[in-house]
């Protein structure tokens, strides 16, 4: 599904990722954990094609294709989804219109017929239930006036509609109270399946109590310094990142 080899990237001449290796197979859920400034969000951004990053070396192969050559919208249409830490507000543009445009762009790319308004509405209603979003929220302008929790639920709602093959969730747990976290995690878990891979980016182990990953990787100073199963997350929660920081691998 996704194979990252020796990936290095920089921003404004500053090296952030320093040789990442990661292999995610179909249906697997991987978590990348690490302290602030370790490069977690950069990894998510680079995979989704955010402008401003320079790939200095390495390759990313997605379903056998060179992911790094694709424009961001092509990555999305090929099945890559990024759940944003800070989703963008779009006043005047309804959530439903926005998502219908997105879903239809993806369907068109895949040679499927586009949804009309009625079919799309039915689909949206069904998916909105996954994250307990009310009709009022789905019809409001994209993210405008949404609370932090509502924005994250809206991200997972979008994910459900776009049905990605690879979902990258960047700090989806940040700023969530315990109820919102449970709702978001339920929404994510409902989308797990043998054809859906996930990469969870998080600082805390808390999210992983709700969404149990198959593998956990510790990212420090732009490198993966340790990998393990979900029990690694619990160890980290107990002991913190100190042992890795002590190794002098702190990001510049």
């Amino acid at each position: 599904m996704l194979k990252i080899e020796e990936l290095s990237a920089s921003v404004d001449g500053k090296s952030i990722l320093k040789g990442i290796n990661l292999d995610i197979k179909a249906g697997e859920v991987h978590a990348v954990m690490g302290p602030n400034g370790s490069g977690k969000s950069t990894l998510a951004s680079v995979l989704a094609g955010k402008p401003g990053y320079k790939i200095t070396s390495g390759t990313v192969t997605y379903e056998g294709k060179n992911l790094l050559e694709m424009a961001p919208e092509i990555r999305a249409r090929e099945g890559v989804f990024l759940g944003f830490q800070y989703p963008v507000e779009l006043p005047g543009v309804s959530n439903l219109y926005f998502l219908k445009a997105a879903v239809n762009a993806i369907r068109k790319h895949r040679g499927l017929s586009e949804y009309d308004a009625v079919d799309f509405m039915a689909l949206a209603k069904e998916k909105a239930k996954l994250v307990e979003l009310s009709d009022a929220l789905t019809q409001r302008p994209v993210n405008v006036g949404f609370s932090g929790g509502e924005k994250k639920r809206n991200e997972i709602f979008q994910m459900a509609l776009l049905a990605p093959k690879l979902a990258i969730l960047d700090e989806t747990d940040s700023g969530l109270d315990i109820d919102a976290l449970r709702i978001v995690a339920n929404g994510v878990n409902a989308q797990r399946g043998p054809q859906v891979s996930m990469l969870l980016i998080t600082h805390y182990q808390r999210l992983l109590e709700y969404i149990q990953p198959d593998y956990v990787h510790v990212l420090v100073g732009g490198k993966i310094v340790k990998s393990g199963t979900h029990t690694l997350a619990q160890d980290l929660e107990a002991r913190g990142y100190a042992e890795f920081l002590g190794a002098g691998a702190l990001a510049p």
Partner: protein, 429 residues
């Protein structure tokens, strides 16, 4: 006013040609206009208020008045759901509805008493207002009272037979005490090989406790010059909600002056503009807080693309006696290309300590991170930029109370962005 350098351009030479002699209010208007023109002339690039404006594209052209009797063309572009009058058309058959009275200098006969205030002009002495007075073919006075329905006046672009052609429409609107009204003005540009000029003056008088939503929409093209001098006088506890929407034009300039002449008046000044390649849009606003406990909130937002140019010059004057004034002014601009230019100059002149005043201006670009969010959902970059532009402008759309005018503005804005089809999509449930 500051002395203008007298321009002896082709326009002025042409415009002092006389009409057939007449009497009555229009004759007085023309006399006053001609006297002002002779004294002050038309502005040139050295005049501060016209510094960035390509005013020579107007003053150096020998515009001739559109011949009388040119039948007002049917205009396709209409804000539906309003009583619609086409300026210059015969009012005899027009039925604007209850609460709306219209008097025309051409066909109305003896002016009724309520036009008296209208005719003691409130428009500040300004060069193009003087030209308008000098050249006005017709004057309309409109009175809105009781519970009038929404009223729209359309100013179709001058019809040119190959020569530069101009029109000088003049309208005075009087909103009576306690009346709530909607007034939409739509200026269009005609397809023409020669330059056209619509030089309009609109005067608005908002009575005590009255509320007027005044939507002015200018749709230009690369041959059109549209200059509008708009003034509003606000009486005690009245509300004036100005929405100025300017979509293109070789030169489209609006000078808006609001006089808060009694206590408790409130004004909203919203603006939305777009200058595409080869276009210049220019907004000058003056808010006079002459009396205390009045509030003005100004939000102008605009775009420039290609080598388009946008100008914003806004001044808020708080007079010495105007305690308790609240005045906010903001101008935000988005540049959609490398060559686009914005000149912005918000300013305050405050002569009273007991006030709350803010002002600010920004000029920036659409943010790449925001565009990335949309692209990461599979949306192509062009559509992403259109949606972000629409989102930036939506604050102005959303403020328009009259639904048909709001939708009209949205649709025209999306057309200007090159995505007319998005309108139906965006407003679908």
């Amino acid at each position: 006013m500051t002395e203008l350098s007298l321009q002896k351009g082709a326009l002025l030479a042409e415009s002092l040609a006389h009409f057939e002699p007449i009497s009555g209010p229009l004759a007085e208007l023309r006399q006053a206009g001609q006297a002002q023109l002779k004294q002050h002339g038309l502005p040139g690039p050295r005049d501060e208020a016209w510094r960035f404006t390509q005013v020579r594209s107007v003053t150096d052209v020998a515009f001739r008045r559109e011949p009388a009797g040119v039948a007002a063309r049917a205009v396709q572009l209409q804000v539906s759901d309003t009583a619609t009058l086409v300026f210059g058309s015969d009012l005899a058959s027009a039925k604007p509805g209850p609460g709306i009275e219209v008097w025309s200098s051409r066909t109305g006969g003896e002016p009724p008493p309520w036009t008296k205030i209208a005719l003691s002009s409130q428009t500040p002495i300004a060069p193009f207002a003087a030209l308008n007075g000098s050249e006005a073919e017709e004057l309309w006075c409109i009175r809105l009272s009781g519970s009038p329905g929404p009223l729209q006046i359309i100013y179709p672009g001058p019809t040119s037979s190959g020569e530069p052609t101009m029109k000088n429409p003049r309208v005075h609107v009087r909103v009576e005490e306690g009346t709530r009204a909607t007034f939409v003005e739509l200026t269009t540009a005609s397809e023409s090989l020669a330059p056209t000029l619509t030089n309009s003056v609109s005067e608005v008088f908002v009575g005590k406790n009255a509320t007027l939503e005044h939507v002015r929409i200018s749709l230009g093209n690369l041959k059109s010059r549209q200059i509008s001098t708009v003034s509003a006088k606000l009486l005690r506890n009245s509300s004036y909600l100005s929405r100025v929407v300017t979509l293109g034009g070789a030169l489209t300039r609006t000078d808006l002056t609001i006089s808060m002449s009694e206590k408790g008046a409130q004004a909203e000044l919203d603006g939305l503009y777009f200058a595409a390649d080869g276009e210049q849009v220019d907004h000058h606003t003056v808010v006079e807080h002459a009396q205390g406990h009045c509030q003005s909130v100004q939000k102008y937002k605009g775009f420039a693309s290609g080598n388009g140019q946008a100008i914003f010059d806004g001044i808020v004057r708080v007079h010495p006696g105007a305690s308790g004034t609240v005045a906010h002014q903001s101008n935000r601009n988005v540049l959609l290309s490398e060559e686009a230019v914005v000149h912005t100059k918000p300013h305050l002149e405050i002569e009273n300590d007991d006030v709350v005043c803010t002002h600010g201006a920004t000029v920036g670009r659409l943010r790449l991170e925001e565009q990335f969010y949309l692209q990461s959902r599979g949306i192509d970059p062009d559509t992403a930029r259109t949606l972000l532009s629409y989102a930036f402008a939506s604050e102005v759309f959303d403020a328009i109370i009259h639904p048909a005018a709001r939708d009209f503005v949205r649709r025209e804005f999306l057309s200007k962005l090159g995505s007319p089809a998005l309108f139906a999509e965006l407003l679908a449930p």
